[in-house]
Amino acid sequence: MKELNVEALARVEGDGGITVTLDGKKVKSVTLDVHEGPRLIEQLVKGMTPADDLNVIPRICAICTLSHRYSAIRGLEKALGITPPEKTQLARELMMLGENVESNSLHTFLLALPDFLGYPSAIAMLNDYGDDVKRALRLKKYGNHVMAVTSGRIVHGENPILGGFGRYPSKKALEEIKLKAHELIPDAVRDVELFASLDYPTYPEAEMLFMSVNAPKKQYGFAGESILISNGKEMNVEDYKKLTNERVVSHSFAKRSLYQDKPFTVGANARMINMGKRLDGQAADLFKQHYNERWLKNPLMNNLAQAIEMLWSLEHIPDMADKVMALEDPKIEQPTRQTGSGTGAVEAPRGTLYHHYEVKDGLIDVADIITPTAQNLDDIERHMKLTAERMLAADKKDEEVRLGLEMVARAYDPCISCATHLVRLKRV
């Protein structure tokens, strides 16, 4: 028996590795081992007020900080009977567009692209692709700026609160982000063209099942009250446990998810497959141009999906900024009850993020958070196993197999730190 290891998986967030166990040329197992320690956030917030919870929960993640905050807000507002005003909802959508640009620019260019171009890192790409790296950093800077304008800070902004915003972005700041978005759209178009021109290996290909939120009004978007499944079904977010069926595995601190005993994928490719027909603007044109059946079975296409989605987000920021500006600042809506439950679901850049709360007499009684990476882990392992089997059958060298496996894992844009928020380690 032989083991092929990627001991420390580089260019992902958190501490993970890949182990392939081989019997001759036969692949016995492939595991994405999560070494990151448990974080116990759900227990930490028990007994806190909903307002305090909102200051703790986003600390799960420094890049999806607004997704965590927004998902928690949606769950808690339902639990407390709060209906947010229209301007609040629009400003929340705007902040999510900023986070999407920020995260997708970092992942596509600096984490995934070096593999496709044959470089060990973005640093090594600097001499030959310096302008592309700078373009990615300009986009990331802009995404960060939109997050700061809407939420108050680049990381862990506290403006979005239950029932409203502590402070809405100023007209001047909104005009600035509008102007800059228009400037950056050509950069995002070039990014889509670059990612469309890449050679996506076929090794991981297999039929896949995709899930994403169903954005309201038949539009593309990052939040919703129901979940679309690529098999044509749709379920209310309150049934999130039936969709995710979390379980613990021995080799990982992160929980796993299965839907009807099968792995599934969440993320930009899932959003495109479930809601791609709702895209508009240049993003829609480029999606139509580059979408094909391989998207339905190749997880590497998530990189191209993220590039198209980043363009869509940039194209929508000016319109969303206009809508926010057009409305007067409303008063903050207050809770109508102190006991209740509710589930929020938003699309973090790397997939659907659930926050479920049960509030009793004004305090958090139960918190349950299911992250996109925890949902994706089983499918990552499935596609890595196929990749290992097919590459070994094609007599690929160990180093090539390692890279092939890393490309699959990285394509999912995993956040291992997020995925390990709560698993108890039990040794027997």
């Binding site: 420390a8 260019r11 967030e13 890049i63 992942h107 956040c415």
Partner: protein, 170 residues
Amino acid sequence: MHKLRDAPGETEAGLKARLEGVAGKSKVYVLGLGNTDRADDGAGVLVAEALKKLFPSYSYSEHDGVEGTVLDISEKDGDIVVFFVDASELHAPPGTVRVIEKERIRETEITTHRVAVALMASMLEKAGKKAAVVGIQPGRIEFMGTVTAPVRAAIGTVTKSLANLMRAND
């Protein structure tokens, strides 16, 4: 927290000499990194926040956006050095300070959450600027913990040394 290869520690006088050696007569920018929610891990940000009061145009922290700040500095004219200040695993007692030049910064420090300091330093170098990391060994990095006494002292020493250099090279 930044992970660095082993390097010798600095005394206060040694730190002054090392900073001056890297900077020469260049205009000094400071970019403080870290997570202030995690006790000593936020040492770099605390240094930058203290320096902001004295040199607001030359001091930045993680909260200002690392990549954007570096991008802006790389496009400025003139002789410039950027010191990234960060809690660093130096395998030394808490509060130990070391200056690590670009060549010694590990390149694998790029994650979903943060662009590698090595990439930032390489970009600056390509634009004709200099860069180095000022690493501070943390003692405690637990969530919601408080900054330990040796690291608090190191934050004071690094702030003072950088402020003197920024003043001299202004």
